[in-house]
Symmetry: C2
Subunit: 496 residues, 2 copies
């Protein structure tokens, strides 16, 4: 690699990370295309090309000159924002270098085999088949956690959390989730008791095309810029692409439009965050989204704070009627989208019961990493927790129990808390913006949605990773994470 | 770059060229996406990412170890096919290294500016604006031609031809095109004289969707494998992607289906060649298509030898009627698709007058490179040639004269002959296969098309670049390029 003659070490670094970003652009394109466009015959060559690309990106992120240059740049005169960018560069360098290549390779290969087998094992409720794979994979995850722990001076589980939520600790999560545990189960019961409205409706079948037209109109209402992104179809909805070209996907169920519609609203939240990241920092680590929880806060803001609110649904109702020929009233739509129904599956859970699924996984992951829970005891632990948190029975039902998520099957621990942190941040942002904008629900009902997104753009999106999560949230709302807002939101929506 | 410990220098090279191929896969994906899917907002980041990728591919192709390793591999025991692969590696290495980086950069930048300005200048018939840009660009093209000439021991124009047609010479082309010149203008006149059938038809407007459905059915009939490719829309039709995932495009004119339909047939010819390249050589230089003329021979085989033949059109007629509600008979379709009408524009030209457009450009390019024709004299030269070859007047009409093609505006000389060579090879292949298969037109009329493509697959596609063009054509047809078959084909079709 030839070095340019830079005016500073920091400049050398920005050029290098810009180069990395160009290759990551191609990686995002390859991923998106694979999920949406690629015919099956393309898969072997694509797999090989993507592996080559990943290897090249890893080489760039571990380039030998980086260690010294990152060190030397620390002593240069930098603006506050440049210093933040340098911090993120250090973080990326650390992430790419901390785990020895041999362990990365072993874990990647085992995770690939474990996931592949899991797809069938889950279908067949085959816990005995899955268990040894998961045990072998957990051993490598623990090894990873220990290496990260030593390098960062964090506990092993904190080190895993920090892959997704820099700065988050088990202690903090225990306090937040502990608080949640004191009121959520009883709230669920009260809501179920109170919930009397009709909840089964005849939903006429709607063509994918009509649903897509509606979806695009809703995206447009939510301010999605189609000159900077696309909507397509994939079997697992996601939001990909790059900031100037954000590509979200959904899947259509022609017998029930409600799921794809809310899915599009959710992904549009992710997409607007990406579209709103600071243009001046594009291609630099500081220009990336802050964390998984903040990302999820934006999708859940769209889905939960806006999308399932009656103001939004009253605005949507005529559009649904027009495009889908649906007879559902705003009240009926609200009943559908705020129905509380404790169930076995996390991804199908409603807004109130969802955090219970996360609580359970958080407790399990802590135990798996600190050794207080063995893989063998996982199903029993799962059944007890599901029973006590949600009153549902998963005894013997592994496929809808501890085998339901892909995360563990690929050896990814530490991610689950981000979902509920995101829901909490979303509520906190809404209450904060209401101090200046007034009721969000009222604004949305009037179609007056632009200022809501201006608030998010100014306070969250345009900040990229220039601030830590705590700084970001404090600057936006006056305080760091405060789960009371989430409670208030749920009480307002479900008990009023 | 870390070197593996290979069993031989040749093995080292195959690994290295495999790596290059992975990055070229990403380049093909980026190009296709840019033309078909990318929203306008993605263009800046994509441009930068693609430039970074091109730079990386160039670095790989000019890696310092290659010169010695290519040399050392020459002395290793190689199979005939490995030796052919090594020859193609040497050719790629030569192409990537022959022009100094400073000239590549200067030409790329000037070509970009020249093309950008040309888009408006052409619209405005602004020859005076275009001329100085073209003069500046021609100076760099001559510099490139001289460098290539010295490196290869070829004349400067031969060196440019060899970028697209390895082994082709000006002398050979002069003989082939000289022959053409003796009979083509009079053939055109005879056909025009003879041509009496109706040629203006009311073509009902057809939706893009209906045309696409028809296009897919025709692709299917032509053996295109949709598990290994796609059909999409772009403003300039092309065939891209990679062998296991070939992506062709078209554009639909809802007021006239005939153009998109023949466009799809043409691109399907390119696509089947790519899909049929030797699987064992994927990712290696010997696995690539042989040359531009051979590629064009496959598209023109589909379009001219099959697509515009009455057998094919009789097979197509009921499908057109079914999908587009068209009332056109096979005879009317044949009249449309074989109408001869000398005109100003190459890309709109019919099968018989097309070579005249190529002849003119070949003569002009030779003159521009050897200095016997100046850019300033180009319009006059153009007008004289068009008048004598086709009897049409381009005096003062620069935009439909020497400003009509993008090739020169981007400094690409030496490509045009490939189009007509392709047409000639296509005719030669058809006559050769008819010695064993009988009349192609009859087979197609019966829908019995598989053996035609088996012949092409066996003789052409599966050969990749394992043979030189002359060897390939001789092995397939018993002789090297023989333009008599093209003449015979045109006389059969247009004078019978």
């Amino acid at each position: 690699m030839t070095q340019p003659s830079p005016s500073s070490h920091y400049d050398t670094l920005t050029k290098h990370f810009q180069t990395i970003s160009h290759f990551e652009h191609l990686s995002a394109l390859g991923d998106w295309d694979q999920a949406t466009m690629m015919p099956v015959g393309g898969s072997a060559a694509r797999g090989a090309a993507m592996a080559e690309l990943a290897k090249h990106i890893h080489e760039l992120k571990t380039a030998p000159f980086l260690a010294d240059t990152l060190q030397l740049a620390q002593d240069e005169m930098l603006t506050r924002e440049q210093a933040a960018n340098l911090k993120e560069m250090n973080y990326q360098f650390f992430q790419a270098n901390v785990i020895p290549a041999s362990l990365v390779k072993a874990k990647t290969e085992l995770a690939y085999r474990c996931e592949h087998a899991w797809r069938d094992q889950r279908k067949n409720n085959d816990w005995q088949g899955f268990r040894p794979n998961l045990e072998a994979l957990m051993a490598l995850v623990k090894e990873e956690a220990n290496i990260r722990s030593q390098a960062q001076g964090l506990s092993p589980y904190d080190a895993l959390l920090n892959k997704f939520e820099p700065g988050m600790t088990t202690e903090h999560l225990e306090s937040v989730f502990g608080h949640l545990k004191t009121w959520l189960p009883s709230l669920i019961q009260r809501v179920q008791h109170k919930q009397t409205g009709e909840h089964r409706f005849n939903i006429d079948s709607c063509s994918s095309q009509a649903q897509e037209t509606l979806g695009r109109e809703v995206m447009d209402f939510l301010g999605f810029d189609f000159t900077q992104g696309r909507l397509d179809v994939s079997s697992h909805p996601f939001c990909g692409g790059v900031p100037g070209d954000v590509r979200l996907t959904t899947r259509y169920d022609e017998s029930d439009f409600t799921s794809a519609l809310m899915g599009v609203i959710h992904e549009t939240g992710h997409a607007r965050y990406e579209q709103g990241l600071p243009i001046n920092w594009r291609g630099q680590p500081a220009g990336h989204a802050r964390s998984m929880a903040i990302h999820e806060s934006q999708s859940l803001f769209c889905e939960m704070q806006l999308g399932r609110g009656s103001g939004f649904l009253s605005h949507l109702q005529p559009q649904i009627a027009k495009h889908l020929g649906s007879q559902l009233s705003t009240e009926q739509l609200t009943n559908i989208y705020t129905r509380v129904n404790p169930g076995l599956i996390r991804v199908d859970a409603d807004e109130i019961t969802y955090p219970c699924h996360v609580l359970l996984r958080f407790e399990a992951e802590k135990g798996l990493i600190d050794g207080s829970l063995s893989v063998a005891d996982l199903p029993e632990f799962w059944a007890q927790q599901m029973s006590s948190l949600l009153g549902v029975n998963t005894q013997g039902n592994f496929k809808d129990g501890c085998m339901q998520d892909i995360h563990w099957a690929v050896g990814e621990l530490g991610y689950f808390p981000s979902y509920t942190l995101g829901a909490m941040y979303a509520a906190q942002f809404r209450f904060a913006m209401e101090t200046s904008l007034g009721s969000v629900d009222t604004l949305v009902a009037q179609g007056d949605i632009a200022q809501i997104f201006e608030w998010l753009e100014q306070k969250i999106w345009s900040q990229g990773s220039l601030l830590s999560t705590d700084e970001l949230v404090k600057q936006a709302t006056g305080e760091t994470l405060n789960p009371d807002y989430f409670k208030r939101h749920l009480e307002q929506r479900y008990l009023k």
